[in-house]
């Protein structure tokens, strides 16, 4: 784990609403695994005060890329950064997805929750990438897919791209069709989506892992501000997670606040 000062290499839009920021971090790239995250301190000012967590999206040589949508104070500040600007990157933090053999992998992503799944897809074989977005403007384009693009399937709330409705409906459709036992799920996205993924996985008795996007304080397990309910009670999602086996989480704990 390193807390390093880094320089923006590139900061560009990949769709109307989604951005990718990249920076050199030779030591960090050697260690980081799909599912792990980084805590950015974008300014030396105290407002915004806390760091912002981002999953690693892609690794290209010595360069780390993160995917983000400018929606809050931190991410809007990030979208204004230019090549050459400096910021602090802490990581890699948290655990990572567990690679599986002999199972067909279904990835289920919502919004920027696609990021760790694309990183996983870069390193491991998968069957389908199911991605859900609000509408066309925030869809992660197929040109971002590592390798084959044919197994990327979209859902949007308004039907402007792909299936009209929730990405979890695509997941249930696939599990209904074939033998659910052949599948394994990796999923990341907003809590209501993860709740649905967990509910469906339980219904069809499919194993899988969820990466949680809790708001975080420290990112290292000290503040206990990002706890999630597991079968054994609360644990810090930054340290015990962000990736959890679906079996270990409670459905109640995945309900939105």
């Amino acid at each position: 784990m390193y807390d390093i000062r880094v320089t923006v290499k590139q900061n560009k839009r990949v769709s109307d609403g989604l951005w990718v920021l990249s920076y050199h971090a030779p030591k960090t790239v050697k260690k980081i695994l799909p599912g792990q995250f980084l805590q950015f301190r974008l300014t030396s000012s105290t407002d915004p005060f806390l760091r912002r967590p981002f999953s690693a999206y892609k690794i290209k040589g010595d360069v780390i890329e993160v995917l983000y949508e400018p929606v809050g104070v931190g991410t809007r500040l990030m979208s204004q950064m230019k090549p050459g600007d400096e910021f602090c990157s802490l990581g890699p933090l948290g655990n990572s997805f567990t690679p599986v053999k002999k199972k067909k992998v279904l990835m289920v992503g919502g919004g920027v929750g696609a990021a760790p799944l694309v990183f996983m897809a870069e390193r491991h074989v998968y069957d389908k990438m199911l991605l859900g977005f609000r509408n066309k403007s925030v869809v992660l384009p197929k040109s971002e897919a590592p390798g084959s693009k044919s197994n990327w399937i979209y859902a949007t709330n308004d039907g402007s791209v792909g299936h009209k409705g929730f990405v979890t409906e695509l997941l249930e459709g696939i599990l209904k069709e074939g033998d659910p036992k052949q599948y394994f799920i990796y999923s990341c996205g907003p809590k209501p989506m993860l709740y649905e993924v967990a509910r469906i996985a339980r219904k069809y008795k499919v194993d899988g892992e969820l990466s949680l996007e809790e708001r975080m304080g420290c990112g290292v397990g000290a503040c206990l501000g990002c706890v999630v309910e597991t079968q054994d009670g609360y644990v810090a999602s930054c340290k015990s997670g962000p990736v959890f086996s679906i079996k270990d989480l409670t459905l109640e704990g995945l309900k939105s606040e």
């Binding site: 806390l50 809790e214 706890v227 340290k239």
Partner: protein, 313 residues
């Protein structure tokens, strides 16, 4: 030039330097090990423990606010027994003083805890957290009455030979009356200040941004308030103070020491800059070199007050 003496003495305990960390902001064992050489700290302070395990408050527990954050963790911890069995063995390996922060429902429970901790050689000092603002209902209460605080401190004092520190918050009713009674009841230092109650609302959901509704405000936002309490307590009482509340760099730390603090603690800033305590330590040492100050005794309480203020002393 002669070497700078950074050591400070509180009671009979000599601390190698004045820089420590605020309880609850530095984990319980190895959370910050990758970033900080713990042996360089003046003391290591663990997150508040209680007699029995506490699960803490529901999420959301934290909310960012201008230059700070609100938290209502609710003293989540695994309890005293777990601390002694599972944390102390790790903490014993750290080559600096250990300060154990505790909270309890009243004098009897505090005494129960202190009797156990008193047997732990590795514990240098006990810090009484009488001021966590995020606890409701039965069990641990926010100690608000001076007599109650006095009873707690006195009964703890009678049951341990460890260095005794009491942590207070401006939220505790008559602050200066309470500070005075803790000193009279045998506390050997005060940790000033704990968080200040605050609130934030999500205007779209029309819901409080933390589930506890109110939470403790910390970070640079509260620093001037913390500094004022340290200054005023030092003017009033002859008691060593560990200053904390929004300290983010060496300048902030120097302010507290000049106002009279024996030691200083980095708190919420540890979440943002894990190395903050080390930056403070190095910055302080460099500042003392540059300004030709040779010891902490020389810097502490060296505030130059205007004539018209001194006149009324």
């Amino acid at each position: 030039m002669s070497k700078i003496n950074l050591s400070v003495k509180i009671g009979k305990v000599a601390f190698k330097n004045p820089v420590t960390v605020a309880s609850g902001t530095f984990g319980n064992t190895n959370e910050y090990e990758p970033y900080v050489d713990f042996s360089r700290l003046g003391a290591f302070v663990t997150k508040t423990i209680t007699l029995k395990k506490r699960v803490g408050n529901p999420m959301p527990r934290i909310a960012e606010t201008p230059s700070g954050m609100l938290n209502a963790i609710g003293l989540e911890n695994k309890g005293l027994e777990d601390y002694v069995e599972n944390k102390i063995p790790y903490l014993a390996k750290i080559k600096t003083h250990l300060i154990t922060s505790i909270a309890a429902s009243g004098p009897e429970e505090f005494v129960k805890m202190v009797k156990v901790l008193d047997k732990q050689k590795v514990v240098t000092a006990i810090e009484l957290n009488l001021s966590c603002p995020n606890i409701r209902g039965k069990g641990i209460q926010f100690a608000k009455h001076a007599e109650e605080v006095g009873r707690i401190v006195k009964s703890v004092r009678d049951n341990t030979s460890k260095l005794l520190i009491t942590k207070l918050s401006p939220e505790m009713g008559n602050f200066f009356e309470i500070a005075e009674i803790t000193v009279k009841s045998g506390t050997q230092a005060l940790s000033l200040i704990n968080t200040i109650k605050g609130m934030a609302i999500d205007v779209y959901k029309r819901k409080p941004r933390i589930s506890n509704v109110t939470g403790g405000l910390s970070g640079p936002a509260i620093r001037p308030i913390a500094l004022r309490y340290v200054y005023e307590v030092k003017r009033m009482l002859d008691i060593p103070v560990i200053g904390m509340g929004g300290i983010a760099n060496w300048q902030d730390a120097a302010e507290f020491i000049i106002a009279g603090a024996h030691m200083v603690a980095t708190g919420t800033v540890n979440f943002v800059t894990p190395r903050a305590s080390m930056d403070v330590l190095e910055g302080l040492e460099d500042y003392m070199k540059r300004t030709r100050v040779h010891s902490m005794d020389e810097l502490r309480g060296s505030l130059k007050l205007p004539e018209h203020i001194l006149k009324y002393e």
